[in-house]
């Protein structure tokens, strides 16, 4: 294509990604967003102005060289785009799909000031998918250092750390408590948003290329302990995430049909409950489902519930409904924009400024209704969001038979047995140096949700990467503890 002028570029509209139509997609678990074709990716890449001090980069937690990889895509040099991408981000097929771009890279794109930002995430996904299909840029293990590294947890933080340590030439063993590696990417995020085959391919490829041994079904804190790992390994990285679910302290939470998003999503995704009885783990869905919360976890739960209803599972009937019940307003919704948009298209009903105070039983162990109170917004709280205040006398009962709590998670303390000296904060998060990931226990690094509390895939990856760099320095005796 001939060189375009800036004016020409700015005339190209932001390209939409082809998607499955809402009516069709609520009946299946296959991917909703189908990805750019090469033509669309190149056209979208033409919109980028290749800014000198590209502000978009500052919005990316791992500083992907955005103009460079977008430029390579524009020129049709996919192998180069992959290579540039992989210098900072090993999992573009995953980040392109799940990063909250609208508050990260794309929020800083200069084009967004007047019009619409470059669709960096969509182009990134295209680059990632190209790499999955062609494997043009395989990672290689560095010259062996003879040092042994243990990585606990196989989510994005652990995977990133393990890959980098392999590239540095260390022998890496990963430990995972579940029977399948991948962390939230496999047990939490549904197939229709991030296909399991993508994660499997990335993990198998890395393990094979770098000789990483993955020990699934090994719970650190039970099957083996941190102090034992420290005896066997030269360095230990903890990327155990924030997997402990929270329930509201309201009456009725132990009724049948009340569950954590973690349980609901694990049954659906990790155990493939939507394929019951082909797969043995059952999952139940109500006729009228209330999902409490409005983050990504809540959107995923609501959209899984819709799909199970259309498969006719549990109590589902012709007039089934799924509600998102959120105590703040539409403005404060923390989920990715695209997921909220998709959820609305699919028919999820949003009840804002509403907070449950009690779950009422049906007298047979199940749920008949949820008592809620309306909220109004007051002054901003510490998080900068306006604080919801209950409106007196506004109680009402919402008829539901399933309640899914998606209120956030804390780190699971199971790993911390025999980890004397490893400091943690009140919510259970590990105290670690932001730049290096070093904890207060010699030889142990930590990163991802276990340090920050529930956050994002890319921030977990960034933490894994920074920790790997510091671990490598330490192991090469370049830095004392």
């Amino acid at each position: 294509m001939a060189e375009l002028t800036k004016k020409d570029r700015m005339k190209i509209p932001r390209q939409d990604m082809p998607v499955q139509e809402p009516d069709a997609r609520v009946k299946n678990f296959t991917e909703v967003a189908l990805g750019f074709t090469q033509e669309l990716a190149q056209l979208e890449a033409q919109r980028c102005l290749q800014c000198k001090d590209a502000s978009c980069r500052e919005g990316c937690p791992v500083e992907v060289p955005i103009p460079d990889f977008v430029g390579a895509v524009r020129d049709g040099d996919m192998a180069k785009a992959v290579e540039i991408m992989k210098s900072k981000n090993n999992l573009p097929a995953i980040c392109g799909r799940v990063c909250p771009q609208e508050v990260q890279c794309e929020s800083r794109c200069i084009l967004g000031k007047k019009g619409e930002a470059v669709a960096i995430g969509r182009i990134e996904r295209f680059v990632g998918d190209y790499e999955l299909a062609h494997r043009t840029c395989d990672v290689k293990k560095g010259p062996s250092t003879g040092k042994k590294v243990a990585v606990v947890g196989t989510g994005p933080a652990g995977l990133t750390c393990a890959v980098d340590m392999g590239i540095y030439g260390h022998d890496v063993t990963m430990f995972e408590s579940l029977h399948t590696p991948g962390g939230v990417l496999v047990y939490g995020i549904p197939e229709f948003r991030l296909p399991k085959s993508v994660i499997r391919s990335e993990i198998e490829n890395a393990a094979c290329a770098l000789g990483i041994e993955i020990k699934a079904s090994h719970i650190v804190g039970r099957t083996l302990l941190i102090d034992e790992l420290l005896k066997e390994f030269d360095a230990v990285f903890l990327g155990t995430g924030a997997g402990l679910p929270m329930f509201s302290p309201i009456p009725g939470i132990n009724l049948n049909g009340v569950m954590s998003a973690n349980e609901f999503l694990t049954r659906v995704n990790l155990m493939k409950g939507y394929l019951f009885p082909e797969f043995d783990t059952p999952v139940w869905v109500g006729k009228k489902v209330a999902v409490i919360g409005a983050g990504n976890v809540a959107m995923d739960s609501a959209r899984c519930a819709l799909r199970l209803q259309s498969l006719g599972m549990g109590n589902a009937g012709p007039d089934s409904e799924v509600h998102i019940v959120y105590r703040r307003s539409a403005e404060e919704v923390p989920a990715r924009q695209e997921e909220v948009h998709h959820a609305k298209e699919e028919g999820v009903i949003f009840d804002f400024l509403t907070n449950p105070v009690e779950i009422l039983g049906d007298g047979k162990g199940g749920v008949s209704a949820m008592r809620c109170v309306r909220q109004k917004l007051g002054e901003p709280d510490q998080s900068g969001r306006r604080r919801p205040i209950p409106i007196e006398g506004s109680e009402f009962d919402m008829e539901v038979d399933q309640v899914v709590f998606a209120l956030g998670t804390n780190p699971n303390p199971i790993v911390f047995v025999n980890a004397e000296g490893l400091e943690r904060k009140r919510q259970g998060t590990v105290v670690a140096n932001q730049e290096t990931g070093r904890t207060t226990l010699k030889g142990v690094w930590a990163g991802g949700d276990v340090v920050t509390g529930a956050a994002t895939v890319i921030s977990a990856m960034g933490a894994g990467k920074r920790a790997a760099a510091d671990m490598n320095n330490y192991l090469k005796d370049k830095s004392a503890w």
Binding site: I219, T223, L224, P277, W284, G365, I414
Partner: protein
């Protein structure tokens, strides 16, 4: 890994398996459990560690065929492998010398009570064991229990062996006639509920091992939660042993039936496909 080394048929519906799991055997203690997964399409099911051998690197599990997964597991043979076994999970039993204690095992619950009775005996307790089953065929490990107990009482519901009683009858007699320091009871939830009701008026501390529905066994899903006097607890990480007198038994029993509709469909489907296999085998002349 996770290979079946021995299999024993204890009754029509109760099987014992010794499996290879050295990393778990190394850490296993009485009162703990594992989660097993047969294959990629399988379900993660919790089973108590009925015995372990650290040297041989093996675990013994005893299970009753009650649903699709346990029925299918019953068809596994020596040499077959589980996809996964993970553990040891839960807190071990707190063992010390309490004095005279009673271990109550009901049905398949006799298996998990055995290592507890053994450790309590080794710690110097006077161990009275009461084991019971619906009928003689379902009774297991009488000899092993006798070997670790100072006194052993056997009951069956139908009187086909031992005393014709529910386990709660001799249990009540014991508490009326002797000073009992502590009681452990493992069996079907309904049995544990009645044991709890029997011992509560006597104020004898009673420990039960709860068998709620589970997935991960690490505190991640909350599916195993049980309502106690002081709020909800996760059985897999806070238990599985709890003070029986604090458990909301009706809530527990209700939660265990939650997936019954789907479980029954799965069992029917399994039996149907098995019948087909049998029919085909017969048709093909395989005896």
């Amino acid at each position: 890994m996770y290979k079946i080394l021995e299999k024993e048929v204890l009754s029509d519906v109760t099987k014992l398996m010794v499996v290879e799991a050295p990393q778990i055997a190394r850490k296993a203690r009485a009162g703990q459990f594992v989660i097993v997964l047969m294959h990629e399409n399988g379900e993660r099911i919790p089973l108590t560690i009925a015995d372990y051998d650290r040297k041989a690197g093996t675990l013994t599990m005893i299970f009753q065929e009650v649903g699709k997964s346990t029925l299918e597991m019953g068809t596994m043979k020596v040499g077959d492998e589980f996809k996964t076994i993970v553990g040891p999970l839960g807190h071990p039993t707190e063992v010390e010398n309490f004095g005279t204690i009673i271990c109550v095992g009901g049905g398949v619950g006799i298996a998990p009570i055995y290592p507890i009775a053994r450790e309590l005996k080794e710690a110097g307790n006077h161990v009275i064991s009461i084991i019971g089953a619906r009928t003689k065929d379902l009774l297991l490990w009488e000899d092993k229990m006798r070997a670790v107990s100072d006194e052993l009482i056997v009951t069956t519901d139908d009187g086909s062996y031992g005393r014709k009683d529910l386990v709660t009858v001799p249990l009540k007699e014991m508490m009326e006639s002797r000073k009992i320091a502590k009681i452990w009871a493992i069996g079907p939830a309904i049995m544990m509920k009645f044991v709890s009701a029997t011992t509560e008026p006597f104020k004898v501390p009673t420990i039960v091992s709860l068998n709620t529905i589970m997935i991960d066994g690490t505190g991640m899903c909350g599916g195993c939660r049980v309502l106690m006097d002081d709020g909800a607890k996760f059985v897999c990480v806070d238990g599985p042993e709890f003070d029986a007198h604090k458990v909301d038994w009706n809530n527990l029993l209700s939660r265990m039936t939650f997936y019954r509709g789907q479980e029954q469909a799965a069992i029917a489907r399994w039996k149907e496909s098995h019948k087909c296999n049998l029919d085909r085998a017969v048709a093909e002349g395989v005896k």
